[in-house]
């Protein structure tokens, strides 16, 4: 406290050093984990469990989020486009926004809340109760047994979730347009397909894979380095969700920039 008044530079310096220390630690953690994803032994049972936990059980959350996003999108764009008689563009706007942007980001954020927190709390508790130490004394590398399955599952399952979410989101837009705004169903579907390109969908799925990776890595990293005690686990959980969410926004921009220049 006194530091702030007497020596602000030292405070800034200390914060900066701490930040770079953490970034370095995160990078080395990520490299180590990724190497473990590709080298044996593999723990297939653990992987299967994570695929189900991360993929299957996140489906309702992602489905509901994208459904309502699609519905709102149709309504909001109707407000705008009807002012210059461009209602016909609504199906295209809905499908492009969902596949390129809102599907991956919404699903990413929801899964970050659900899975990022779950991973950080579980691994943090294992750290605090010395279960991670116990793993290594039982000849099992915690990176391979705990972290690699979660990272693989996150990276594989998020694109699947987003693909399903895309379909549900477009369907949400369809429902609102047909039953509330009086669109012709066949026409709506035709319009949806007409301007949609494969690139729109794949760029969204690539984003999703990156987000899934980020969520799993941040959850594992925060949990693995959790400070001792219940408070430590609580803080690890919060940090995992907040940092994953922020990184999702950052990488969303970076990836969009890359795809944009590619078009």
């Amino acid at each position: 406290m006194i530091d702030i008044i007497t020596n602000p530079l030292a405070l800034i310096g200390r914060a900066a050093l701490r930040f770079f220390y953490l970034v370095g630690k995160l990078i080395s953690f990520t490299c180590k984990s990724v190497v473990c994803c590709f080298t044996p032994p593999f723990y297939l049972k653990q992987l299967l469990k994570q695929l189900v936990d991360i993929g299957y059980y996140s489906l309702p959350v992602v489905g509901l989020t994208t459904l309502f996003t699609g519905m709102v999108l149709a309504l909001q764009s109707y407000v705008g486009f009807s002012r210059f008689a461009a209602e016909n563009a609504i199906p295209t706007v809905v499908v492009l926004s969902i596949t390129r942007e809102l599907g991956p980001v919404m699903a990413g954020l929801m899964v970050a809340g659900r899975i990022g927190a779950y991973i950080a709390a579980e691994i943090g508790t294992m750290r605090v109760t010395e279960q991670i130490d116990a793993l290594s004394t039982l000849s099992t590398n915690p990176y391979r047994y705990l972290i690699a399955p979660r990272i693989i599952a996150g990276t594989l399952m998020l694109p699947v979730l987003v693909l399903i979410g895309n379909v549900i989101g477009v369907f949400g837009g369809f429902l609102v347009s047909v039953y509330k705004l009086g669109f012709n169903p066949a026409n709506y579907i035709f319009q949806t397909w007409q301007y949609l390109e494969l690139h729109d969908v794949t760029s969204g799925l690539v984003k999703a894979a990156v987000f899934g990776f980020i969520i799993a890595v941040m959850g594992c990293f925060c949990g693995f380095n959790s400070k001792l005690g219940a408070q430590g686990v609580g803080r690890a959980t919060t940090n995992a969700v907040v940092s994953a969410s922020i990184l999702i926004f950052v990488f969303n921009y970076l990836l969009t920039g890359i795809f944009f220049s590619g078009r």
Binding site: T129, Q131, D133
Partner: protein, 261 residues
Amino acid sequence: MATSKSNSSPKIELVNVRKSFDRKTVLSDLSLYVKHQESLVIIGGSGTGKSVTLKCILGLMNIDKGYVKIDGQNCTNLSGKDLDTHQSKFGMLFQGAALFDSLPVWKNVVFKLIQSGKLTSKQAKEKAIELLAVVGLAPDVYKLYPAELSGGMQKRVGLARAIAAKPEIIFFDEPTTGLDPIMADVINELIAKCVKEVGATALSITHDMTSVRKIADRVAMLYEGKIIWTGYVEDMEDSGNPYVEQFINGRADGPIKMGTV
């Protein structure tokens, strides 16, 4: 293994080990050795760094200074494959049991055996029930989860897990804490048996003097980051060391001041 080498050098040796957290020094200059097939017990006040000592030997924590040697080989601050090989020699009972709470009791007990792929699921289950009986637990415990067990039961499951793979070196961190006197005696005998019959080298931590007399060949007392006394258990009563005398008799007055550690 090479018995000629093992006769000349102790199984475990710590030389001038120093370990601190942030600015707090826990072990300042700790030297200690455990001979082959010997049972050494470390005693010392709460928070003096006994558990930390075990973790430093296991390579779960890096030390700041000094050496850790196993069979005369330098095993200080290992990483990667070397660390894996190093750790595979040990069995460890953690102070808080550290059971995997996502796995049922029997999978906990035979975890290492299952991972090494030597047993079928049915054999593993039988082996687990056998080991549970050794630590005095009824066979129907095997399918429960750790959260459904009492503290003392968890401790015994942890013990069964530590000895399951018949390691060369076994660490027991407060094996009898939380057990009733009869069960404590059963566990003490089990530990003594591990050393005498199986030929393991044991390093234990305990606050329980009955337990010390039962399982120790030698005793070492840790105080302020150093070993201040070590000797055979028979000599413990008349060690002539005021710290040891105060500790084993459990007196509040003496050279050890609580709260100044």
